[in-house]
Amino acid sequence: MRKIGKTTGFWPVQTGVWILAGCLNYFAQQFNSGMPVSVILLNAAGLVGGGFAITSIYRYYLKQQNNQFKLQASKFILSLLGSTVIQSICWLALLWLIFLPTIFKYHIGTVQFCLNFIPLTGVLLIWNLVYIGYHLLRQYHTTEVERWKLEAEIQKARLGALKSQINPHFMFNALNNIRALILEDPQVARDMVTKFSEIFRHALQHSEDKEITVAEELKILSQYLELIRIQYEEKLQYQVNADNSILSETMPPMILQLLAENAVKHGVAASPSGGEIIVDIKRTCNKLLLIVKNTGTLSPKKQLENNLGIGLKNITERLKLLYDNDASLSMEEHPPYVVVTISINKYD
């Protein structure tokens, strides 16, 4: 039996159900009780009217409470049973008022009359359970749908993160250069395909990881720089400096690659004569420092895309998510270099 709903006709269902209940009661009484028709009609009317009114009031009460059916199970059951008992008492009182003129005429005893409390409670309990059950189901359904939506959003965000980690320009330029290398130097071309897949696999595997070791990150960084170098050749000079002692430290994945990408974009690709990139990884007593320098200046140049800093902004957001206030990114100019420093607090 379907009942109720804020938008789906509660009133037609409520009315229909009670009229049906009244009719059933009327016919049942007519064949069994042997009471006069007037009394049976009165009884049916009391049941329909009382039931209708009392359950409607209960619904109003539930709505007023704005009860999202989120009570604890025990409290919830207690409230349900309590309400049902109160409803039955009211209903019984209503019936008593209706029958007041006839109750003495037919010598219906108080106890006998009060026994009606049991079937009334049963009927009300069924009504209440159906009503609340329907709403619980609806609510569960809504929650489910919302959960699916949320999951889809998360999936999208993850893809977005992956996308932002592998720059499509880098990817397609690398593939294009490898195509040319296959004819020019097949051995180097083969190496580059391997490096390309390593970088791609790394991005796929670690796009959701919070931290990986510096050693792993450096391995991928050098492969990335070697691949970038087939695009810029002698125009790109680079060096990576990291002490052996910090190789086991942890850091967020892909960050060095993103910094290097930023350095290439502003320090190497932008200049006809190319440029130099220096990566330093250091550990102070309570900080891990990732420093990436590239030749160039901070003065904003007239560029095709005026998004100096979009890459760095993404990194800053990621650091904020991962470390809250325990990491920072700064950019300074120390001619001839622009220096980007990421500092991550370490508490070991």
């Binding site: 330029n173 593939l175 040319a180 087939i230 695009q231 690709a269 200049s271 006809p272």
Partner: protein, 125 residues
């Protein structure tokens, strides 16, 4: 014969394009440039019918180069990613090719270039 030049900062990418263009004897490569300034000199020097132009170049973009020309030859843009396809329409580009270039797409682009250059009458057949 179409007199064409390549403007592209990566040597290997130029190599790749030259390799692909070997299948089109009607396209003669009159020169190549790796930077914007080289490109400007080359265009003055050879007055090409057609330019294969990369959008990302050091110093200036491919669009910047076109803007500074008095008369713009036919242009086929070549780029690694498609974020500038719409902008390229502003420059009457014949086509917009994504690297690595698909040979069939290159063929279509060259056919379009041939038709356009014939209409212009600037092509010495």
């Amino acid at each position: 014969m179409i007199n064409a030049i390549l403007i592209e900062d990566s040597r290997l990418a130029r190599q790749e394009l030259k390799e692909l263009l070997k299948s089109f004897p009607q396209v003669q490569i009159a020169g190549e440039a790796g930077t914007a300034s080289q490109a400007e000199e080359l265009i003055k020097l050879v007055n090409p019918d057609l330019i294969f132009l990369d959008i990302h170049l050091p110093g200036k973009s491919g669009f910047d180069i076109l803007q500074e020309l008095d008369s713009v030859p036919a242009v086929i843009f070549t780029t690694a990613f498609d974020q500038y396809a719409l902008q390229s329409f502003d420059y009457n580009a014949i086509d917009y090719l994504l690297k690595p270039i698909v040979p069939e797409r290159l063929e279509q682009a060259i056919q379009k270039a041939e038709i356009l250059l014939k209409e212009k009458g600037g092509c010495s057949a």
